[in-house]
């Protein structure tokens, strides 16, 4: 009953209603989302009408007022009046990271500076930053989307959520923070880093929800175990809000075994707003994209052609409810596929499959798709290893093969070579648990791998020369 009252409070505020009749018996009681906003269950036809209306309005504004997008649209000979059905979105030219760089810092700003209340800046892996601006309404809607995500994961008033994403220029910390505040959960804004303090806070405050990157969550679990704790007994974590990097089902299993029973994937992109673009519902069968704010598409990255549901390709988003910096058909470079079937949780918003990595880095090894970032996450977590590594592609017979060279640190050195062989095997098995592929690991001396300015050249292709 108390829970219901708490829900009422939220529903008075934001038109939420309780309705879990359809969920009974389908998902575990504890993780069941107890209420939805009307918009989460809007019928498909209405949702599509809403999307079309908002898309046309966004296009109209950009066409008339935004010099850069206006010019781009005219060059592509697309007028707002050409968009008469949702499929017509394919006529609109793509936006890429390069468009953002050309317009650095705020060339794409679509409102006067007096309407802007916030900037976030993403460093980007290549070192060129991109700036994203928010109006008051943008921040409000972003908070709402994160509240929806957290609610969907079963986070509620009375929960204590420790937010260990970085606060600051990065969108992760503040994005989840505003969502949790909107929902009415009690926030411990611990930000990233200081692992010992994170563990102490989680324990002392009896945090029930942890929000951080999945790799940091694994690291926290290991660090807690090393301190003599049993995270599953000594901590009170129930829900994990893990995002900002791709992670696999094997990592989910490890998180369940070591840290918390309900780890959820949350997706976002700083260019779109930050976290809260999509998240998993308790069925964990893809991430619901909040389609009243974003139109998701999956395209063939080579031809730009729109792919059908279930076909794997590059994710593309159009923001249809943003003021400060709307983006048309923004190419994320993330690989996923779309599922438009209704979800048993009752939400009608389409789902994207979990992100595997960046399509431009994807390697195909013995029939398995491998993203260098997956290997990077494993190596970064292991303290015995240095920052430098290299992925080497070779050919063994007709098949492509892959090898990882990684520098060791002094702390890893033992007088017995056998210990070092054990370390090598440990790295190989960690990589196996993420990729499901045996990859040979070579430990090399510090300083032996080539350094380069900016983005290090991590992948070396030796397939042609052998």
């Amino acid at each position: 009953m108390i829970r219901f009252v708490l829900i009422q409070e939220y529903s008075n505020n934001k038109n939420y209603k309780t309705d879990d009749s359809e969920l009974k018996g389908r998902v575990p009681m504890e993780s069941r989302a107890l209420y939805y906003s009307e918009i989460e269950r809007i019928n498909r036809k209405e949702l599509e009408e809403l999307q079309l209306r908002k898309l046309r309005a966004t296009l109209q504004i950009l066409y008339e007022k935004n010099p850069y997008f206006g010019r781009k649209l005219r060059q592509a000979q697309v007028k707002p009046s050409d968009i008469n059905k949702l499929e017509d979105i394919a006529k609109i030219p793509f936006t890429t990271k390069d468009d953002l760089r050309i317009n650095y810092p705020i060339g794409l700003l679509n409102v006067g500076i007096e309407k802007v209340v916030r900037f976030h800046v993403s460093s980007g892996t290549t070192g060129d930053p991109t700036v994203v601006a928010y109006t008051e309404s943008d921040v409000d809607k972003w908070s709402e989307l994160n509240a929806r995500c957290l609610n969907m994961m079963g986070v509620k008033r009375g929960d204590i959520i420790q937010i260990a994403y970085g606060y600051g220029l990065f969108t992760g910390g503040l994005g989840i923070h505003y969502g949790a505040e909107r929902l009415g959960a009690a926030i411990v804004p611990s930000s990233a880093g200081n692992t010992k303090r994170q563990i102490k806070l989680m324990k002392d405050m009896h945090a029930t929800v942890l929000a951080c990157t999945p790799s940091y969550a694994l690291y926290l679990a290991e660090a807690a175990i090393q301190e003599g704790l049993n995270p599953k007994e000594d901590l009170s974590l129930r829900v994990g809000v893990f995002g900002a990097e791709p992670w696999s089902e094997s990592v989910r299993k490890r998180l369940i075994n070591q840290l918390c029973p309900e780890p959820y994937d949350i997706y976002g992109l700083s260019e779109l707003c930050g976290p809260g673009v999509a998240a998993e519902c308790p069925l964990k069968n893809g991430l619901h994209v909040w389609a009243d704010h974003f139109i998701p598409e999956v395209i063939d990255p080579k031809t730009g052609e729109v792919l059908g549901p279930g076909e794997e390709g590059e994710l593309v988003f159009t923001t249809i409810d943003k003021e400060a910096m709307p983006l048309l058909r923004y190419r994320t470079r993330d690989v996923s596929c779309l599922d438009i079937e209704p979800c048993a949780c009752g939400r009608t918003h389409p789902r994207i499959s979990r992100i595997k990595g960046r399509d431009d880095d994807m390697l195909k090894i013995r029939g398995v798709n491998v993203f260098p970032s997956q290997i990077e996450y494993v190596l970064e977590r292991m303290e015995e290893l240095g920052d430098q590594y290299q992925i080497i592609l070779t050919k063994s017979g007709p098949l492509d093969d892959l090898k990882v060279k990684v520098e060791v640190k002094s702390s890893a050195v033992s007088d017995k070579p056998w210990d070092m062989v054990e370390l090598k095997k440990k790295v190989e098995s960690e990589i196996y648990s993420v990729l499901n592929l045996h990859v040979e690991v070579d430990l090399v001396e510090p300083g032996s791998l080539p350094r380069s300015e900016g983005k290090a050249k991590r992948v070396v292709d030796l397939r042609r020369s052998t």
């Binding site: 050195v413 033992s414 070579p417 056998w418 070092m420 090399v444 001396e445 032996s448």
Partner: protein, 138 residues
């Protein structure tokens, strides 16, 4: 007082030991004993030197670590067999052993890697067997 052994991680390719030896020579550190243990693509070079701290500075950039070993001079009276039999009878397990490259204070020495350095040294001394300390190398 046990002796410091430096373990240096090296890739199995030509010139790595030369690089280490040259760097030590440059700072006038003397290698008293060494032993290379390999494990395929890489190996560990174990070193006993007269000035371990100076040596570690000279080896900056290498991945290395230190640990303590027991060093016993081999003489007419104290043979390798005598040392090994004594420790065996006292259930001290020797993980590995090697001998010095040059005489130390007139004798070649046996370097012993054991689990319990303190206990091993105690057993040896109780049986009137000399144990060297880092100071003996200066």
């Amino acid at each position: 007082m046990p002796v410091t052994q430096i373990s240096v991680f090296v890739e199995n390719k030509p010139g790595r030991f030369a690089e280490i030896a040259t760097r030590l020579e440059h700072v006038k550190v003397k290698i008293l004993a060494f032993c290379i243990a390999d494990a395929g693509d890489f190996g560990i070079i174990r070193l006993i030197v007269n000035k371990p701290e100076l040596a570690r500075k000279a080896l900056e950039g290498f991945a290395e670590s230190i640990m303590q070993v027991v060093v016993v001079p081999i003489t007419e009276q104290v043979s390798v067999s005598k040392i090994a039999n004594l420790l065996g009878s006292k259930k001290v397990n020797i993980d590995y052993a090697y001998t010095s490259a040059i005489p130390i204070n007139g004798n070649l020495a046996l370097i012993l890697r054991v689990n319990d350095v303190e206990r091993t040294e105690k057993i040896l001394k109780e049986n009137s067997i000399e144990v060297l300390t880092q100071k003996d190398f200066e």
